[in-house]
């Protein structure tokens, strides 16, 4: 990178952009290779080390102390002080200087928790600059901003570079990378695919480079004959902790006998979408209907009773109770069913039989059903979850990142289970950041971008089309 330039790092999830930045910032250690700054090799072993070399990072998840003021947050850890007492006047002077330099106006005395998200980011940037960052790393900064706030951010980035600093801008959004950067580096699967000057780039080049395909997997798809309307989402709006409009009027549906793939880079509303559907989050407006029933206000247990299966996003966090045995995990949520318990007392034999059947049917390799979930491999854990959900014969199956972090064999196996479910006439809503998976499995592909469905593709769509939609470029 050269001084004073804005370098865009473009790539989909899993491309390695965040990992690369974490190495640069001292949070991960590297196995091979070198980092040179101004011609000299450097070793970066901690964030403190990175900071001392002039690197500053603004993370996606903000690290501000909620009940401290903006100014206190900016100076935290780099306070000007005399004999332990903070020199407030000097601090204020320093911070005002910075604000002027960078053009990110903000009220220094507001509490961090009262700031709208866009302003929180400003504080993070000012914080990094206050510690003397000459190279500023912005990780998906516009993920939580409104278009107007993004504009303000771009103005600031320009001013920062005019002042001699350098900016690394990590993103997946094609429009932005074209608008703000001098050069673009595209990454895919941990490697740099190419680096080019922005003036030489256009959407098609970028999209193709970003979403390359590895070997296509072949599955046995039966004829595409979509049946009843299982899930009908209309103009769904919802807020999340970070964004007032995580979902901004989302409309789509899922029918029996099809796999609907929701593609999108993480942070565009996937989690909120799934949580709203299964009842873990209440939408602010819009409707969700399942087979005609309105389910907006239902509690999760009631939603699941409507023959819905849910493979959640993070198996260790949300899917399994790690300290429960396999057997106990298979009946999670179903313990009250008459086949497993009578009048409040559980029937261990039947539960064990059920668990064994799942283990057998879904190829879980384990020494027994008493093994704690914690001790299974990721693939086996996921098989338990998927097996548990499918065993309930749900009409609608929601699979959220079902193969994340799994080895090749497990991934293929789980994917084949989804195809089989679809062939049997179930409806599958597949929400995934793995675009290969989406392209391989989906009958219809919907692209989620900034809380809306920005486009729909049919099976066999080209990568370029998908890439553009993912980057926010709607079909013309």
């Amino acid at each position: 990178m050269n001084q004073g330039e804005v370098m865009g790092i473009l790539g989909e999830n899993g491309a390695g952009k965040s990992t690369l930045m974490n190495v640069l910032y001292g949070l991960y250690s590297m196995d091979e290779g070198s980092i040179e700054m101004q011609g000299k090799k450097v070793q970066i072993r901690s964030s403190a080390g990175a900071i001392s070399l002039g690197l500053g990072m603004v993370h996606q998840a903000f690290t501000l102390v909620p009940n401290m003021t903006v100014m206190e947050n900016i100076i935290l850890g780099s306070e000007p002080s005399r004999a332990g007492v903070v020199d407030r006047r000097e601090a204020r002077r320093q911070v005002r200087e910075l604000v002027k330099q960078v053009g990110l106006d903000i009220d220094l005395d507001t509490l961090a928790e009262e700031l709208p998200t866009g302003f929180k980011q400003r504080v993070e940037i000012l914080k990094a600059l206050h510690r003397g960052a000459k190279i500023l790393i912005l990780d998906e900064p516009t993920a939580v901003l409104t278009p107007l706030e993004s504009e303000e951010l771009f103005k600031s980035v320009r001013r920062i570079t005019q002042g001699g600093s350098t900016v690394i801008f990590i993103t997946h959004k094609l429009k932005e990378v074209m608008a703000i950067t001098n050069r673009i580096t595209i990454m895919r699967r941990g490697k740099v695919v190419t680096t080019l000057d922005t003036k030489d780039a256009n959407f098609d080049i970028l999209a193709n480079a970003m979403v390359g395909r590895s070997v296509e997997r072949k599955f046995n798809f039966g004829p595409y004959q979509p049946g009843d309307l299982l899930l009908d989402v209309d103009r769904l709006t919802a807020a999340s902790r970070h964004k007032t409009e995580a979902l901004a009027g989302l409309t789509f549906n899922v029918k029996a006998g099809e796999i609907v793939g929701v593609a999108g880079v993480e942070g565009n509303g996937q989690t909120e979408l799934v949580e709203c559907i299964v009842g873990l989050m209440k939408p602010s407006s819009g409707t969700i209907k399942m087979s005609g029933h309105l389910v907006n206000r239902l509690a999760t247990s009631d939603v699941l009773k409507l023959s819905v299966g849910h493979v959640p996003e993070d198996r260790a966090l949300n899917g399994l109770i790690l300290d429960f045995s396999i057997a106990e995990n298979t009946i999670l949520g179903s313990a009250d069913r008459p086949e497993f318990s009578q009048r409040g007392v559980m029937a261990p034999k039947r539960i064990q039989d059920f668990a064994r059947r799942i283990v057998k049917a879904f190829n879980v390799s384990t020494s027994g059903i008493e093994v704690k979930a914690r001790n299974l491999s990721g693939g086996n854990q996921q098989k338990i979850i998927v097996g548990r959900e499918l065993a309930g014969q749900p009409n609608l199956l929601i699979a959220h990142q079902p193969t994340r972090g799994l080895d090749v064999a497990s991934t293929e196996y789980i994917q084949s289970l989804l195809v089989e479910a679809r062939n049997k006439g179930r409806g599958v809503l597949l929400v995934s950041a793995d675009f290969d998976e989406i392209l391989d499995l989906s009958d219809r592909i919907l692209v989620l971008y900034e809380g809306k469905m920005i486009g729909e593709l049919k099976r066999g769509a080209g990568i370029g089309e998908l890439g553009k939609l993912l980057g926010g470029i709607a079909a013309s």
Binding site: I321, S325, S341, G344
Partner: protein, 360 residues
């Protein structure tokens, strides 16, 4: 549990290591203190154990302490399984005692029904008391640790007030006696040979029942699920808030039962409210509630294990009159044991200090 019993014995032994280490370390530290003061730990501890175990009085004491310790251990560990700290067993037991006492003084009922009513009311009182803290934590995010501790003090003061203001006047006893005697019809039957009540059987039954409840009922399953993984549980429809409150209520009820036992047993100054002036109200940290917590911790929060842990602590308590100069060293020892139970890794660390093989 829904478990095959294949590897049970070895598993139990390995799991018990931190407890045994904590107990041993406690004894060691206590002995060191004794030695520092020129006493002989061997004499003292043998006096304690022999007094508790070989005399009839001692044995009865063991049984008496044991039911209280066991029930209060359950009062701590059952809500604990749902992930909520019930440090208020003391207060809940006191309220239970008050509840039973009020029934005994103010209501007259036919023979068997009367004591049963008193016991039921005691259980309800304890449950209601703990419900307050449970609701506050589940729905208002108020730390149960703090509220239960506060409620302990409220309960103790309130109970003393009731004793002097309501019960003593009603029973027409002179207040400086500090005690109220209840009609014989209300005393719990005693065991043959020992002068302790049948509460010990009740307590063991409750402990076994608790183990069954946790392992084999759907509610017990939900409680454990909430404690071990409230997010996965919630995503499958188990409501963490209501589950926690239910667990707290159960814990409070068990504690209330202990309170009923205290006021309705005979012997050792029990059978009067003075019983819980001694055991429950005075000397907070010698109080049964906190000893119950120690019992549960040493048993690694296992109901059946608590039976054995309760035996150990009751022997310690019962033996105290036989070593009257050294009671407080034994109290300090309880504190040390709890400290070591706070960090099972610490015990393991100490074991491996000498380069011995690691216990995984």
């Amino acid at each position: 549990m829904i478990e095959t019993s294949k590897a049970r014995p070895a598993w139990i032994l390995r799991a018990a290591v931190p407890s045994l280490v904590a107990l041993v370390l406690g004894l060691v530290v206590a002995s060191l203190v004794m030695v520092a003061f020129g006493e002989d730990p061997v004499t003292i501890f043998s006096a304690l154990f022999s007094g508790a175990l070989t005399t009839q009085y001692g044995q009865s004491s063991v049984l008496n302490y044991m039911y209280a310790y066991l029930l209060l251990a359950l009062a701590f560990l059952l809500p604990g399984k749902a992930g909520i700290w019930n440090v208020g067993g003391q207060g809940q037991a006191i309220l239970g005692g008050v509840g039973a006492a009020l029934i005994m003084e103010y209501v007259v009922l036919p023979p068997v029904i009367w004591p049963l009513a008193a016991i039921t009311f005691a259980v309800l009182a304890g449950a209601a008391w703990s419900a307050i803290s449970g609701l506050l934590e589940a729905y208002r995010n108020a730390s149960a640790i703090v509220t239960t501790i506060m409620m302990n003090f409220v309960a103790a003061n309130f109970a003393t007030f009731i004793l002097y203001y309501v019960l003593i006047p009603k029973a027409n006893v002179l207040s400086y006696y500090n005690e109220v005697n209840f009609p014989a019809a209300l005393t719990l039957p005693t065991l043959p040979y020992f002068t302790s009540s049948i509460m010990i059987f009740v307590a063991v039954l409750v402990a076994v029942g608790a183990a069954f409840f946790l392992a084999r009922t759907t509610l017990g399953y939900k409680i454990r699920a909430t404690g071990l993984g409230s997010r996965p549980a919630e995503s499958k429809g188990i409501n963490p808030r209501s589950t926690k409150v239910i667990a707290m209520i159960i814990g409070g009820g068990v504690a209330g039962l202990a309170g009923a036992g205290a006021v309705m047993s005979v012997g050792h100054g029990c059978g009067t409210i003075a019983c819980y002036q001694d055991g429950f109200a005075a000397g907070w940290f010698g109080g049964f509630g906190f000893a119950g917590i120690a019992v549960a911790l040493v048993a690694l929060n296992n109901p059946i294990g608590s039976i054995f842990s309760a035996i150990f602590f009751s022997v310690l308590a019962a033996g105290m009159p036989y070593i009257y100069q050294n009671i407080y060293v034994v109290w300090a020892m309880q504190g040390i044991i709890i400290l070591f139970m706070a960090a099972p890794e610490l015990s393991k660390m100490i074991l491996t200090l000498g380069g011995r093989r690691k216990w995984t």
